[in-house]
């Protein structure tokens, strides 16, 4: 095979490989990007029931309760302007507690309860997820220093 044809062959295979990667990426972007919302965003934008997103804020004081099965926890996530009720079934992270920053991921049920399938609370008492800090700043309730 002549060098020129060989080069053409490689360019074509290379394009095919990258094209495949681009196609897969674009297809995956369609369904798999998860946006972050604060409780205020949830009310302002109005989320579709099947829309998967991340909800972050502070766990509202005196909002945490267990249901009868002992495994489902309900609580409210607040940015101190608005609050969204959340329910989560499973073992909560070690540092989950009232007044702490939290990020949850899941979908909004038709009843307006955010059904989370994962709850992230960072392993550090002083740590506030940057998204949460920003949400608090946006709602005008920020009183800390730099996150």
């Amino acid at each position: 095979m002549k060098p020129k044809r060989r080069r053409l062959f490689f360019v074509i295979t290379g394009m095919a490989a990258l094209g495949l990667a681009v196609a897969l990426t674009l297809a995956a972007f369609d369904d798999n990007l998860v946006f972050f919302s604060s409780p205020t965003d949830v009310y302002a934008k109005g989320m579709a029931p099947d829309q998967r997103f991340r909800l972050g804020g502070l766990v509202e004081e005196e909002s945490v309760a267990k249901t009868d099965d002992g495994l489902t926890t309900t609580f409210r996530v607040t940015d101190l302007a608005n609050a969204v009720p959340v329910s989560y079934t499973g073992i909560l992270p070690d540092l989950f507690r009232e007044g702490q920053g939290v990020v949850t991921e899941g979908r909004l049920s038709p009843e307006g309860v955010f059904v989370a399938d994962s709850v992230l609370a960072k392993h550090d008492e002083n740590y506030l997820p940057p998204e949460v800090a920003e949400a608090l700043k946006k709602s005008g309730k920020w009183k800390g220093g730099t996150p």
Binding site: M1, P3, R6, F9, F10, T13, G14, A17, L18, L20, A21, L24, T25, A27, A28, F29, D31, N32, L33, V34, F35, F36, R54, K66, D69, G70, L71, T89, G90, I91, L92, D94, L95, E105, K122, H123, D124, E125, Y127, P129, P130, E131, E134
Partner: protein
């Protein structure tokens, strides 16, 4: 006093690296012997100075010298000795010191073992290595000095993040860095070759062992990190497509591509410019990884401190290093002459396909990792790109790669007969089909992926076995002769086969746990029994436990099979005070290559405890596969042809009994 000594050593090292990075370059260019001769002593000096600094910091940590800011922030007198030592690199400043120590160690390696390198190439490689050193030492001395003092001297340290107090994690960063930084040698060789305008088989023979060593270390580092996540984070996951994981995975993917394309340069004198570009890109992604992890643009357990100055500095260094080397590449690469010609269906062709697919896969990981950063920077919108994205992009690209991976090593160079090569894979293909059908018959909830994963894993393992079988002519000649052939096979052939089989074994492990994992989450009271994957697990209650620097609640489970007590499992929830944190210690028991995995959670206030019990079938194969890949790299490193400093074997004496295609290993 010791801290001052260390401080002095890093400042001196900066000065030495500056000399090392400039004068020898001028000397090599102008042919001034006296300037070129500086390179080797400078590289040796730099290494010794940084070792001194590292020892000084380690002594400060071991002796709990809290007058050193870094020790005060990251250590505590109650900490066990191992974690006092690992605390040295368990923070930003110390890990950066480790980084430059390893960088200097590689320069030292070239300086002391590079006797058979062409002198001008050796001088330039050491000089480029020195220039990278300048970049990082500036950061270390001016923005991240580990020897800074604190006054008044605190009486007690603030402690190390308990998650990092773990034997598996103690050695995760050093291995990761050996890998990351090891690619700097390939980069220095590439840049030096561009300056020289010459890339040949000898060049590739030199780049390969360094790349292989770096790749092997990176494989160990990534596997250790994954293993740590598996047993320490308490969720039973082993890979999260977390940006920080991706930061180490991208150089690994590119390093794998580089490893393979360097073979083509060495054997066939082809793909030269491509290999040089890959060497530059691989180290660029190591730098990018450092930026992602160290700049604080991402928050994770890995980012110790968020300091915008450092981020900006690393970004600027990134632009200079990557931009400069790519500009040099654009300028000089066209002058590199291309050599051997080959057909698309050939060993070279298969390796090109390997490279293209690895690059495409790296690109998808790159986009998934960086897109949230870009979007946040441009629109301020926060998004997460999670595992589903990577499963939908990365995994499909791996499927053709793995299919070709099994047959590639059996193809002859230059031109292959695809039908002939495939016909030798008959046994492997038959085995693959059998396993696929068996999987289909037994499979659980996601049969397509399970069947595909099992089939690919078996195909790869069987392919590696057939490859070795073909090379030794096993079953076709008397066994004794076959064994003699096996002993005489080049080590690199063994290494390649072991690493490929290891990948297959790891795929089997991943597929097994992903497809057939069982998770039970429930409230249990003492005496309660549940059945998990055929095991009866009885909860016996909890008891308080006191550790060296924590208090814990320990749950006890008795595991029965057919009424017989098999295991006692004791997971813990540990509460640390310095710093105040809670960690979950899962209890993990390997059984028949699968793991039983138990976690005890909070009390429900009514005598019951939330418990989570998993059965993770076949997960052990994932770790065995990683070990095999590492072993493959090590075996290949001992190949006489690649051994650093080994005299070149005269080309005119090929072993007479080898077939042509086997000769070309």
């Amino acid at each position: 006093m010791i801290a001052e000594l260390g401080h002095f050593a890093i400042v001196l090292a900066l000065a030495v690296s500056f000399v090392q990075g400039t004068l020898p370059l001028v000397g090599a260019q102008r042919g001034i012997e006296a300037l070129s001769a500086i390179a080797r002593p400078a590289a040796i000096m730099q290494f010794l100075l940084l070792i001194l600094a590292f020892v000084a910091l380690t002594m400060a940590f071991v002796g709990s010298d809290f007058s050193v800011l870094n020790v005060w922030q990251n250590s505590h007198t109650d900490k066990p000795l191992l974690y006092k030592i690992s605390g040295v690199w368990g923070n930003h400043e110390g890990s950066l010191l480790l980084w430059v120590v390893i960088l200097a160690a590689f320069g030292f390696g070239v300086a002391t073992m590079g006797n058979n390198l062409p002198p001008s190439l050796r001088t330039r490689v050491i000089a480029i290595q020195g220039l990278i050193g300048v970049g990082f030492l500036l950061l270390l001395v001016f923005l991240s000095n580990p020897f800074e003092r604190v006054f008044p001297v605190p009486s007690q340290g603030t402690g190390l993040n308990p998650l990092l107090q773990d034997p598996g994690l103690a050695f995760h960063p050093p291995f990761l860095y050996l890998g990351y930084v090891g690619f700097s040698i390939a980069f220095s060789f590439a840049v030096a070759a561009l300056i020289e305008g010459k890339v040949d088989a000898a060049w590739a023979r030199w780049v390969r062992p360094w790349t292989l060593a770096a790749w092997t270390a990176l494989t160990v580092g990534i596997a250790m990190g994954s293993w740590w996540a598996y047993y320490e984070l308490g969720w039973g996951g082993w890979w999260f497509w977390d940006p920080v994981e991706n930061a180490s995975f991208m150089p690994w993917l590119l390093g794998t591509a580089l490893l393979h394309s360097a073979i083509v340069v060495e054997k066939r004198d082809a793909l030269k410019t491509w290999t040089v570009l890959l060497a530059i890109l691989t180290f660029s992604f190591s730098l990018l990884g450092t930026f992602i992890v160290r700049s604080g643009v991402l928050n994770s357990v890995h980012s110790f401190a968020t300091d915008p100055e450092r981020g900006v500095y690393i970004l600027a260094f990134l632009v200079v290093a990557i931009g400069g080397s790519l500009a040099l590449y654009a300028w000089r690469a066209p002058s590199l002459k291309s050599g051997g010609v080959f057909a698309p269906v050939s060993r070279e062709g298969a390796l090109v396909l390997n490279n293209l697919l690895l690059i495409a896969a790296t690109a998808t990981v790159f986009i998934g990792t960086m897109y949230p950063l870009f979007l946040d920077a441009i629109t301020g919108e926060k998004v997460t790109v999670g595992p589903p994205f990577f499963n939908a992009t990365f995994v499909p690209l791996m499927v053709p790669l793995i299919m070709v991976m099994a047959i590639g090593p059996m193809m002859p160079w230059k031109r292959a007969d695809l039908a002939g090569t495939l016909s030798r894979m008959k046994v492997a293909a038959a085995l693959t089909v059998i396993v696929a059908l068996l999987t289909l018959y037994f499979s659980g909830f996601d049969p397509i992926l399970a069947v595909l994963g099992m089939a690919l894993g078996v195909w790869l393992v069987a392919g590696a076995a057939v490859d070795i079988g073909e090379r030794t002519r096993l079953f076709r000649i008397p066994l004794r002769d076959a064994l003699r052939r096996a002993a005489n096979l080049p080590r690199s052939a063994w290494g390649g086969a072991i690493a490929h089989a290891g990948m297959g074994v790891a795929i089997l492990g991943m597929t097994g746990t992903l497809s057939w994992e069982v998770e039970h989450l429930q409230i249990m009271r003492p005496g309660d029994r549940i059945v998990v994957a055929g095991y009866e697990v009885e909860f016996r209650g909890v008891a308080p436990v006191t550790g060296p620097n924590y208090d814990a609640v320990r749950g006890t489970f008795h595991v029965f099979r057919n009424g017989e007590l098999m295991e006692i499992m004791e997971p813990e929830t540990r509460r640390f005070t310095d710093p105040p944190m809670v960690t979950t210690e899962a209890s993990i028991r390997p059984r028949n290559f699968g793991d039983l995995y138990a976690v005890v959670g909070e009390a429900n206030g009514d005598g019951g405890f939330a418990t989570r019990i998993y059965h993770k079938p076949m997960i052990v194969w994932l770790w065995i596969g990683s070990l095999m890949m590492t072993l493959g790299g090590l075996v290949s490193l001992t190949d006489r042809r690649l051994r650093v400093g080994a005299p070149r074997r005269p080309k005119a004496s090929p072993a007479p009994e080898l077939q042509p295609q086997q000769q070309a290993t």
